[in-house]
Point group: C2
Chain length 309, copies 2
């Protein structure tokens, strides 16, 4: 275990749903002791089930999976769950009032130096920390699902977040082998989900317009922009699409064409007909579980070959 | 050489620019004889330079690169360039009147059974074929750049394109190891560039808003959605994001959140300030050529591990 993780030996995972259990799997595989805090009576079984499901991916990532639950415990009482916590990864329901109350309680029950992070995908840290005496203590660490597999963690400070909290969160995630990226401003949905939403809006439009089916569109993405963006992001890609002059040359030549495409992009909504069409087409030839296993295996192969695992 | 390619032994590449030369490199590496038709006096040198640049990628893809230019010739006269052509891949300037005249001439000079394909990224086959006697003969085969490397070819028939032309183009590209996808309708920009434009619009917005820099955004993409979309397209990804209920369940739970994100997405333009900001940030730490080599090598590693090369 590296020095940074030594300082975060005891992690409390608040909320044992899909995201929380995936974080727990990663923390355990990295040798940390995990306390899951969740009032649900069957949380024990659910988390254990998810550990089993995550094991093949963890193993493929080169992490140990034998006796993964040896350092796992469950504690439904929040105060007791936080007594020993060096770090907290919170994954409770996405309701502002709930999280505000929760973090006020977390602040009282945890040590003053406990690192507090939230997986929220939608609630700004500024709002979440409103009821805290020391709002500087909490920062968002928003994973891309599932956190035990996908490298990205968006670290999003609120207006009051202490820079030292941000620094510690980045260190913590980096030590776990993740790729944290600090955002410079809060914005709804953060960055990855906004970009995903932007592409998906046009994807829905093209299927609704009958240009392609869902499966055809997926095939187009994996055979072009997906492959490309796995190794070079959109700015770098266009920088390389402009010849020796890079992005400035690219914009000079192709900005008018891009702007005219922007004007032509669709503006669909999830009305009844659209939901029905998208649902009717949603046959991917195997069960969700089988598809998920295949996707995770392919994902890990790509990460290994790119040196990200 | 497989049976399909036997039928297309002589390919004429019209236009020896970046796209044309990349196509030529692929055709030659696949054992075909290539005639480049381009009036530019230095086309010979330009194409040879590009063949040299493409060689490492072709080699990494498992293709032969020794004596790549043994079956390459140049013929500035269109009629003579087409005399023996089994297939034509056209990459001339993106001007409607130019392409209309060109294809009318191509039709007269080529044999009646010559397969006619255009790399255009913006001109519909329906328009391009307006001056042809047999508009059914031409179909768009739009590559994702560079065609010798990226698998996708969007095959876009016009209103008058003969289904047999479409079938032959798909067979031809498949035999070359590409992943052709036929679109069901013509639309501006086709599919991959529209999706790319949609994501890039929000990427520009987030940089303009100061949420992230270009490099930070690129890092977010490669560590999340890029990695994901290399192995599973956006519909399949959301199908797997909905639990056992798949895409229908996903939409039930997350459509409202997605729609509210859609409303919040930005609407930037390439005004002077935006172009300056994006240009100022466009420092990717190495020359375009070095970055391109690194990207292509990484891309090929991913394709090989996914069995696409």
């Amino acid at each position: 275990m590296n020095d940074t993780l030594e300082a975060y030996q005891h992690v409390t995972v608040i909320g044992g749903g899909v995201i929380g259990a995936s974080w727990a799997a990663l923390f355990l595989a990295k040798g940390l002791t995990v306390t899951v805090n969740d009032p649900l009576p069957d949380v024990d079984k659910r988390v254990h089930d998810q550990l089993r499901e995550a094991a093949p991916a963890l193993k493929a990532l080169g992490l140990p999976t034998d006796g993964l639950d040896a350092n796992l415990r469950f504690e439904a009482d929040l105060d007791r769950a936080l007594a020993e916590a060096d770090a907290v990864q919170e994954n409770s329901p996405e309701r502002l009032d709930f999280k505000q109350d929760l973090f006020a309680r977390v602040e009282r029950a945890a040590r003053p130096d406990t690192l507090l992070m939230s997986s929220t995908s939608g609630i700004p840290a500024t709002e979440m920390a409103r009821s805290m005496k020391q709002p500087g203590r909490v920062v968002i660490g928003h994973p891309f699902n599932p956190p035990h597999l996908v490298p990205l963690v968006e670290v999003v400070p609120g207006k009051d977040t202490d820079p030292e909290t941000v620094r510690r969160a980045v260190d913590f995630y980096t030590a776990l082998g993740k790729q944290p990226q600090v955002l410079r401003k809060e914005c709804p949905g953060f960055v990855a989900n906004r970009l995903q939403a932007a592409l998906f809006r046009e994807a829905v439009n093209l299927v609704v317009q009958g240009v392609v089916t869902e499966q055809e569109l997926d095939g187009i993405v994996t055979a072009s922009i997906g492959l490309r963006w796995a190794v070079a992001g959109p700015f770098r890609s266009f920088h390389l699409g402009g010849g020796p002059g890079g992005l400035p040359a690219f914009m000079q030549h192709l900005a008018p064409g891009l702007e005219s495409l922007w004007k032509d992009l669709g503006d669909p909504t999830f009305d009844e007909a659209t939901v029905k069409l998208l649902s009717d087409q949603a046959d991917f030839g195997a069960s969700v579980e089988e598809l998920e296993t295949a996707r995770d295996q392919a994902q890990i192969k790509v990460m290994r070959v790119l040196g990200e695992a």
